[in-house]
Symmetry: C2
Subunit: 223 residues, 2 copies
């Protein structure tokens, strides 16, 4: 198994996370690096989606991944093995989210001058990560069909802060009571401008739409 770098993240001492996040974003803009903050529940399929997507775009832009987790390095190893791109593991030491300073600790271990897109896979959690600006250009989330179409009603902040909602595991739609139209309606109740992309990371169906969204975002950011 490939070895990946594991970074033990320290708790932030900065009081003003919003300012710190804005500073980080400005710095990334200057360096021409796009940072995506990707959130979801545990088991929604973040890692599988990333592997599929990165393999579609890695010949066109230079991608790196930071995998945040309470413990374990299974995700970072999986990404590295399946895509060959630089992948590091951030251990949050029990913390349920990342803020801007913690994200910066991760970015210090990424070769930014040779990177166009850094994807931060946040801790699997629909509550806490929504509360902290990480300094990312955009927030995105993955909601999976088995979780149910009512999630935007129950986790309002998460859906309000996300510019993109990827709906994963569309292949199992026949086995669950999941209403895609209702889900779109609830998502747009929280954020009328959110882009919704249904995919199946397992088969790859729909993933190119997420890849295109990413490529367009990165291009616009670098202009």
């Amino acid at each position: 198994m490939d070895q990946v770098k594991i970074i033990e993240i320290k708790k932030s001492v900065f009081a003003d996370n919003d300012k710190d996040a804005a500073d980080l974003r400005k710095e990334l803009k200057h360096k021409g690096v796009y940072l995506l903050n990707l959130m979801s529940s545990p088991g929604a399929g973040k890692t599988t989606t990333l592997i599929r997507t990165i393999n579609l775009i890695k010949d066109r832009i230079r991608v790196a991944v930071m995998e945040a987790d309470i413990d374990s390095d299974v995700d970072a190893v999986k990404i590295k093995e399946a895509t060959g791109i630089p992948s590091i593991q951030l251990h949050t030491g029990g913390m349920c989210h990342l803020d801007a300073e913690m994200t910066r600790q991760g970015l210090d271990n990424v070769a930014l001058e040779g990177t166009d897109l850094v994807i931060l896979e946040n801790v699997g959690n629909l509550v806490c990560p929504a509360e902290f600006d990480t300094g990312a250009v955009r927030n995105a989330m993955i909601l999976s069909v088995p979780e149910g179409h009512d999630k935007p009603l129950k986790y309002p902040l998460m859906f309000s802060v996300c510019d993109l909602v990827v709906i994963n595991k569309m292949d199992v739609l026949p086995y669950f009571d999941f209403d895609l139209d209702k889900c779109r309606e609830y998502i747009h109740m929280r954020n009328p401008k959110a882009t919704v992309i249904p995919i199946c990371a397992k088969t790859g169906e729909g993933v190119e739409a997420f890849a295109e969204w990413l490529l367009a975002e990165v291009e616009a950011w670098k202009r």
Copy 2:
């Protein structure tokens, strides 16, 4: 639609949650009330499981439910409509977990003298709720098949603190790469004494085992 009582939970001012939780547990023992803290990811099926289970036991013991959620009262209303038992909604105001004092604020709205079992449906989150003793007699969690069998590796604390792991959505096992034996092995790595009960809340299969576990627990607590 039935109306349910909605309690807006205030942030705790108590510094020593462990002591507060122990005090609450002692008080509940004295009153002969068993409190179960039920946790899971968003969409694992806590509410559907509860409805099935409560309908199996409500003629034998007196049950009440406290549904904790960031927002919305859909779960408490569902429980009340489908089981007829007392059900209240706790709004955490954005907080990602409940501690003992917050649980007590909920219990103040339950008629404890006429109740044998109170089930607290905690906020859907595998990180934060694991960190706080609510004063419950036992912690239980629901892991659903679509989330994957590797979750005990990624959320070690949650699986360490749970005495019971219910594995839900067993009906969709053929459509997911979920290895039940590996899952049991990982759960027991975290807590060798954990009871594991596979169920399908949608069809009711296996739910009677959870019901029997609850009845035996409540009986032992009241002795």
